[in-house]
């Protein structure tokens, strides 16, 4: 549910630091009908133009905090709110080329009352916002 809203068309951009492109960001909304503690995120997978990125290079940012991917499993007091556009930052020297890219995200959530995980899978071709 709500998968079609998961990959956001806005906010897709390269990230610069000290004059260098260090990575890019894409906004994601939760593929589920309520907000959840970040610890319920089993996994986030991201592919851009068919190339997938290592989770170790990811930062997941919500309004109340920003966490390296490997911290998420114990983040019980910060939530990905229902409808909130979280920001997934991915380290990538030089960032992405400008123009449009095929972005494919898969978000796997651990839902206590379900015997299987709640998986949101969304692919969109979106355009990199110029800085």
């Amino acid at each position: 549910m709500f998968e079609q809203y998961m990959v956001c068309e806005d906010g897709f951009k390269n990230v610069e630091e000290n004059g260098e492109l260090i990575g890019f960001e894409v906004k994601l909304r939760i593929p589920y009908y309520r907000g959840v503690s970040l610890s319920l995120i089993n996994s986030i997978d991201l592919e851009v133009d068919g190339i997938s990125f290592p989770q170790d290079d990811m930062l997941f940012k919500v309004e109340t905090g920003s966490f390296p991917y490997n911290e998420l499993s114990t983040v019980i007091n910060n939530r990905w709110e229902f409808g909130e556009k979280a920001t997934l930052f991915v380290k990538k020297k030089g960032g992405l080329d400008s123009g449009s890219h095929k972005v494919h995200a898969v978000v796997n959530l651990r839902i206590s009352y379900l015997p299987w995980p709640n998986i949101g899978d969304d692919t969109k071709t979106i355009t990199l916002v110029e800085n």
């Binding site: 907000g35 610890s39 089993n42 229902f82 651990r110 839902i111 009352y113």
Partner: protein, 329 residues
């Protein structure tokens, strides 16, 4: 002429999830929409619409009750979730589960809710250990009877047996009318066809369901169909999670029914819910003297959001019209 029904109408804000998610409606606007339908009861999933959950400021509490007065509505049911898989490497302990229930009972009390919905997956021992707190905070714990679980299943009987034997008035049940799905909702059917399902196979599964053919058998048959694709199989699988229970059973449990989820998937232009026999259900509840709330719980958006603009406001208005017509004459 039947006396006027004592059943009260309410709306679960869950019904407006599409518009809240996309930012079209905020919490106050959802409450305003409920008031427009004439319904009095507000049901809320705090984890859906209360930013910063579980922390709630005093300012918000005042604002919340301000809205209740302003729109002439009252808090009725708080839909809780027991996230006992909070950590990836273990389940919460009994004590942690109870602490989570107490957190929700406290917040429900703070916002004026009378009933707290607990889900099928809540262990009975957690409910038992939470009852003193339900009493302390004056909030009843209601077990949602939700498909694929229903009356008569072992899961249900075990809990019902405890409710009766203990005589507690702090633990009861709240049927979700999704356990009375006579026909697979057309919106689900059409979605699967749009997703590439084979119309004949989809219809085959629907007809089998409506005729009460064993759902596992239907799935096996579809699996053997050479031309059945992934979507057909998903549809046959989906059918296994729907359930039809004879609504007459409600009569036997009226003293224990604390709340009712008026689940529905679509109200058609001629004010019908194609998959759930609302008329029978309302009559049974009414005649058996149920005087609690039925809250509209629209769950159709996920089946149509792929091809049309969802209008939950219209769907809730139609559902309330349907309820009014069944309750008032």
């Amino acid at each position: 002429m039947r006396e006027k029904s004592k059943i009260k109408r309410g709306v679960s804000l869950y019904s407006y999830q599409e518009e809240f998610y996309t930012g079209k409606l905020n919490l106050e606007q959802c409450i305003a929409e409920v008031a427009k339908t004439g319904a009095k009861g507000i049901e809320l999933l705090p984890e859906q619409m209360l930013k910063g959950f579980p922390k709630v400021s005093e300012e918000f509490v005042d604002q919340w009750f301000g809205w209740m007065d302003q729109y002439g509505v009252e808090p009725v049911a708080y839909d809780a979730f027991l996230d006992n898989k909070l950590f990836p490497n273990r389940l919460l302990t009994l004590e942690e589960n109870v602490d989570m229930m107490v957190r929700d009972l406290k917040l429900a009390n703070k916002l004026g809710f009378k009933v707290l919905r607990t889900l099928v997956s809540t262990p009975l021992e957690v409910v038992k250990a939470s009852l003193p707190y339900a009493e302390e905070y004056g909030v009843k714990i209601a077990l949602e009877v939700h498909a694929p679980f229903t009356f008569g299943t072992p899961w249900f009987e075990e809990r019902m047996e405890y409710i009766i034997s203990s005589g507690t008035k702090w633990f009861g049940i709240m049927p979700d009318l999704g356990i009375f799905v006579k026909r697979i909702p057309p919106v689900m059917e059409q979605r699967h066809i749009r997703d590439g399902g084979t119309p004949e196979i989809i219809t085959f599964v629907s007809e089998n369901y409506e005729n009460g053919v064993d759902k596992d058998e239907t799935l096996e048959v579809v699996k053997k169909m050479k031309n059945a694709n992934k979507v057909d199989l998903a549809y046959a699988e989906l059918a296994r999670h729907l359930i039809y229970t004879d609504p007459k059973i409600l009569k036997d449990y009226i003293p224990y029914i604390m709340h009712v989820h008026g689940k529905y998937y679509d109200i058609t232009d001629d004010y019908k819910e194609p998959s759930i026999p609302y008329k029978d259900i309302i009559n049974i509840l009414d005649e058996a003297g149920y005087d609690g709330y039925i809250d509209s719980e629209y769950e159709g958006n996920r089946h149509i959001q792929d091809f049309m603009e969802v209008d939950s406001v219209k769907q809730v208005q139609r559902h309330q019209e349907l309820l009014k017509s069944l309750l008032d004459n």
